[in-house]
Subunit: 73 residues, 2 copies
DNA sequence: CTGTGACTCGTAGTCCGTA
DNA sequence: TTACGGACTACGAGTCACA
């Protein structure tokens, strides 16, 4: 499993856990609304500083967004 | 402290711990020697898939490269 | 072995609108 | 609320020569 996919999964999970919409998260993190959508859909390989902003906005550690939780499916 | 800096530090530490030169790491990770140098010097905000390749080459988890170990200085 | 400036090229990332 | 497309710009990706 690619790391981008793991990141996408963790991002979505963390966002939902925080009870935020993509729009809210994008707003708080200071990034584009459609970009959050694209990230969760694994369209892009986010750079490290975007990860940082996202992690901060979600109040989780950046490292936790890369943790491989295996197939939750 | 910016995450890019933490990443740069962790990258260098992991590389030295593995007893590799920038050249060797670059070779194993399949990226340019000078690019590894640039990354360790915090010149760029590495993207997630570069991190993945680097982590694999160093045989550490991608998440460990983002762990804030504080000022080791 | 490593740092660095210069360079090209691809894509990250933004902004628009629509379903 | 989210997925997704197009068009655009900024910056990361990747390489070279030289110190």
């Amino acid at each position: 499993m690619a790391l981008r996919q793991i990141f996408a999964d963790n991002l979505r999970r963390a966002r939902l856990a925080a009870g935020m919409s993509q729009e809210e998260l994008a707003d708080v993190a200071g990034i584009d609304r459609t970009y959050v959508s694209a990230l969760e859909r694994c369209r892009y390989a986010a750079s490290i500083d975007v990860m940082e902003r996202l992690a901060t906005a979600l109040q989780v550690t950046p490292a936790s967004l890369l943790e491989d939780v295996g197939d939750v499916v």
